[in-house]
Amino acid sequence: MSDAAQVETAPSDWQEEIWTLLGEISDPEIPILSLIDLGIVRYVRGASREVARVGLTPTYSGCPATEVIRRLVETKLARAGFADVAIETQLAPPWTSDWITPAARCKLKAYGIAPPAESVSNPKRLFGAAQVGCPRCQSSATRLVSEFGSTPCKAHYLCTACLEPFDYFKCI
């Protein structure tokens, strides 16, 4: 739950600088969240700023935003003077919605997207028993419309109290 950033031992100044820059990049599909908020930046490594390596992990295997994110990172870092950063894809451990930071969950809710209701380690999740609250009126009287929504990471819900349809960030 708390290993979202996985900062390695004693990050140097240039590594801190890269982390800060990555925190300024918005996710192309959910612009309210930064790449750090989403937990998809897995590491910033390298012996020096000239040979920096950034590890990204995809949320879903087929997420179309993955390529865009890669290009956004390259561009942003190049403009800040990191010309030859290697962007690496790290698959294991696979991304989990548990890596979405607590602050990001509040941002999602304010944006109208219900954050993941449970931790992935909760076995109840397998039975679809999550209590999803409406991000608009806070009612828990909601129902699942479809397991799939506007992007691979979201499901489609309806609040039966205020009748507002909304996206729910799936637990995976």
């Binding site: 295997s61 087929g62 799939f148």
Partner: protein, 259 residues
């Protein structure tokens, strides 16, 4: 025919095993994407498109790995778009036409339940690359099973018309499930290498899951068919060729075209 476009596939069992997994996901993803704009409701259009996207994403990871194993400098795109039908090693079940919505969802359940058990086993297998891809794919597959099972139950235990249609789909598709558990030399080599799980154990898990859904859906499980089909050896039904003609048209007509 230019030999350089589609060189003969290596006999390396690991390459062939990875290609079977990759092609099964790719071909099913392509089939599902035929529904985009045609599903009975917007939510289901999105649902099928999302599953297609997951499958194509999984296929890309697997094809990239296959390309590395092959070591001939071919890319994932070249493997997807420049092989002919006889070099595709997907299960025969996934190339079958979509039929109606219920037919598509029955096929999806049969395949997704299989992938669920397979990826569960592969995530701890002796090939670390395959294990990490399986762990990733497993999370997505759990949603595919939930989605397809819920629709098969709704349609099977629905009206007389919907029940009759999904029962008929089950009868038509069931014979192709024999291949899922019909091990050949490639599977045997992968089992010996502690990579592939034992087919009998896999079949028991799959059967239990499918039986539970069929019972809730008030559907009758068809009798097993003796003939296994041989899609995973590159021997396909006629449907695959037509599908590839559409899927590969752009790269065949405009070689090397990019977005």
């Amino acid at each position: 025919m230019s030999a350089s476009l589609a060189p003969a596939l290596s006999e390396d069992p690991r390459l062939r095993y990875v290609l079977r997994l990759a092609d099964t996901s790719l071909i099913l993803g392509q089939r599902l994407s035929e529904w985009v704009g045609h599903a009975p409701a917007l939510e289901e259009d999105l649902g099928l498109a999302n599953i297609a996207l997951d499958l194509i994403g999984q296929a890309r990871l697997l094809l990239s790995y296959a390309a590395e194993l092959e070591g001939r400098g071919r890319s994932e795109d070249e493997l997807a778009f420049l092989r002919d039908a006889a070099q595709f090693l997907n299960l025969t079940l996934v190339e079958q036409p979509n039929g109606d919505f219920g037919h598509t969802l029955v096929r999806q359940l049969l395949v997704s339940a299989y992938q669920l058990e397979l990826y569960t086993a592969l995530q701890t297998c002796a090939d670390p690359r395959l294990a990490e891809i399986a762990a990733k794919a497993l999370k997505e597959t759990q949603y595919h099973v939930r989605y397809s099972a819920s629709w098969v139950v709704r349609l099977g235990d629905g009206t007389a018309e919907s029940h009759a249609r999904v029962q008929e789909a089950l009868m038509q598709l069931w014979p192709f499930t024999t291949e899922l558990f019909a091990d050949d030399g490639v599977d045997a080599a992968m089992i010996a290498a502690a990579i592939a799980p034992d087919a009998a154990a896999l079949r028991a898990l799959w059967s239990a899951r499918i039986d539970a859904v069929l019972a809730e859906a008030t559907l009758t499980r068809p009798a097993d068919a003796p003939f296994p089909w041989h899609g995973k050896r590159g021997v396909h039904t006629e449907h695959l060729g037509y599908m590839l003609a559409e899927m590969q048209f752009l790269q065949r007509a405009y070689p090397g075209a990019e977005w």
